[in-house]
Subunit: 337 residues, 2 copies
């Protein structure tokens, strides 16, 4: 069986620790991948590359076709563009897929029935990064929505729902206020939805939709929404089902795919062997599925679930229900075992 | 004691029912107000006023200085501007104050300790309503943030916290992505915060902030944020503490104030005597406080709390813990009694 080259970014903060743990699990499970390290983030800035990327990185990435990425840090301040957003836009990763489910009773949650997949438009909206200072006192940011962008993400959501045996797709937007931009998204959802009569469909305003997601996540199945709303609600969905530390995500484009945890680089706990590799491991499982290595993916997923069931947790999840509170490395050992 | 003229909009959908119930309670409690009805919303559109307002309304409003408003409906479609937004902007109501607290054990909630006040900027952001179609395929909406707008709302939040014996103010924004717009809000918060050393202060990114609010509302006290974020998180805060049906809000400007429930006009249950007047009643209590009628405000608040404690609820809240499930009118009777 072919071994596939996969670009790997170890990232910043807790990134290197959780990436090392994740790669050890992948290797032990027999994933047929060949990690090709790329450098992006803090160390690259320090060398004077203000983009956060070295010039050769894009070639390596395009050669690989797939990137497994640990959290990276973009310096604060006006001069720096978010590396995450640059990656998503440069590589054309228009669909951000974020499954959030509860692992009750092994991970405490108030919402044991939750199992929702957020499908977030990943290139447009306020994330297009078009901001300007009009006067010293007035600043503006442009929210950009295109028909093509809406069609692509809405179709992706319906196809995803079908392929994964899901029953319902909910669109969230603020089309009662933003009648042109969110209105376009809403209209496209309704029009394309007509081609999927096998799937239940609904549209909700983002305010009450987010509130219902927070109180009744089990009533949602697949949610499709614009970039910024998706950013907010995926943290909500992940946190109420257990922890942002447990959710992975896929960033999908026509010719490239990037897989990452949904959490950040958590510099405050970096280097202490306490970070939870679960989110990145979930991302890696999604990556293996994307590469067609379904058996390895399932094997890792089952080993991870079994570890949770055994009550083995990193400190972020550990609690009264925990048999063993362990470090990042020891958690990986347990998954491998 | 002077009787103060208060403009009153009975609104659409469930509006007239909950307004009638609320005004009956105000009268029974001896509120020294004189309701001056204004017409705005559906019936006005039907007469051909495409703005949703009759020409004389603005004069009446400016004469009164205060508006108690039931939910109103803006027709769907590109031609109509939201009436709520028009009211807020025309009257200069820059601060939207939304207290959300739990009434456990009398109203079921997973978060019995929650007691948070959302202070939402109310005139700028994407709500400025500047949208345009660039091509048939590309639409844009302008997010507008001004230094003056940020200063005003941030200062309002700190002053509110002090005046109400609150301990902490949390600012939420996405300044890691929108470095100019949300960045300005963040900088203003930091700068003005320095003048309030007696108050604890923190800033969080809106994604994880909303998620934490959904899971740990009790860790928040006063939250200040931009318009759209405030729209979303106030529904989250209201819903997790019990119900959007129980939250009132104040829209405050330099020369005018408007008070309203945070929920919509719920046309599906209109005219059935089942709507909960609680949110509008809370708004009326805030209004009486604003008018300096603190004793009447407290009397109504206590009567309402006592009604909840007695297990008397409209059907939206009624459940196993309920002694009596009653209609809108009968709920008002119970509060009055
Ligand atoms: C780090 C940040 C740029 C990113 C985003 O806003 O998309 C993150 O919050 C996420 O959700 O992946
Ligand atoms: C009805 C709508 C215009 C309004 C808003 O978006 O502000 C509502 O959701 C609110 O929160 O008061």
């Amino acid at each position: 069986p072919t071994v596939i080259p996969v670009a790997v970014a170890h990232g910043d903060g807790i990134g290197p620790e959780i990436m090392t743990a994740t790669l050890r699990v992948l290797e032990a499970a027999g994933a047929r991948i060949h990690p090709v390290p790329i450098r992006v983030g803090e160390s690259v800035y320090r060398e004077g590359h203000t983009s956060g990327f070295t010039p050769d990185t894009w070639g390596t990435l395009r050669g690989a076709g797939v990137l497994l990425k640990a959290p990276i840090t973009t310096p604060q301040g006006g001069g720096y563009k978010s590396l995450n957003v640059t990656l998503r836009k440069t590589l054309g990763l228009y669909a951000n897929v974020r499954p959030c489910r509860s692992y009750a009773p092994f991970v405490p949650t108030l919402h044991p029935q939750a199992d929702v997949v957020i499908i977030r438009e990943n290139e447009e909206d306020l994330y297009a990064g078009i901001e300007h200072r009009q006067t010293r006192e007035v600043v503006q940011c442009l929210k950009l929505v295109t028909r093509q962008g809406c069609e692509r993400i809405v179709r992706y959501a319906f196809e995803y729902a079908r392929a994964h045996g899901r029953k319902k797709v909910t669109a969230l937007s603020k089309n009662n206020i933003m009648k042109l931009t969110d209105g376009l998204f809403h209209d496209v959802f309704r029009d394309i939805g007509a081609q999927y009569p096998d799937l239940e469909q609904e549209h909700q305003i983002i305010d009450i939709g987010t509130a219902r997601l927070a109180t009744h996540p089990e009533r949602y199945d697949v949610i499709v929404t614009l970039n910024l709303y998706g950013d907010i609600i995926s943290d909500v969905a992940a946190e109420i089902t257990g922890s942002v530390g447990l959710a992975g995500s896929a960033n999908i484009g026509p010719t490239f795919a990037m897989f990452e945890a949904i959490h950040g680089s958590a510099p405050d706990i970096a280097g202490q062997n306490v970070a939870n590799p679960g989110g990145l491991l979930q991302a890696a499982v999604m990556m293996l599925g994307h590469l067609g290595q379904h058996e390895v993916a399932e094997c890792i997923q089952n080993a991870w679930l079994r570890t949770l069931e055994d009550g083995v947790h990193t400190p972020d999840i550990a609690g009264e229900h925990t048999a063993q509170s362990v470090g990042t490395r020891e958690f990986a050992d347990a998954v491998i075992a």
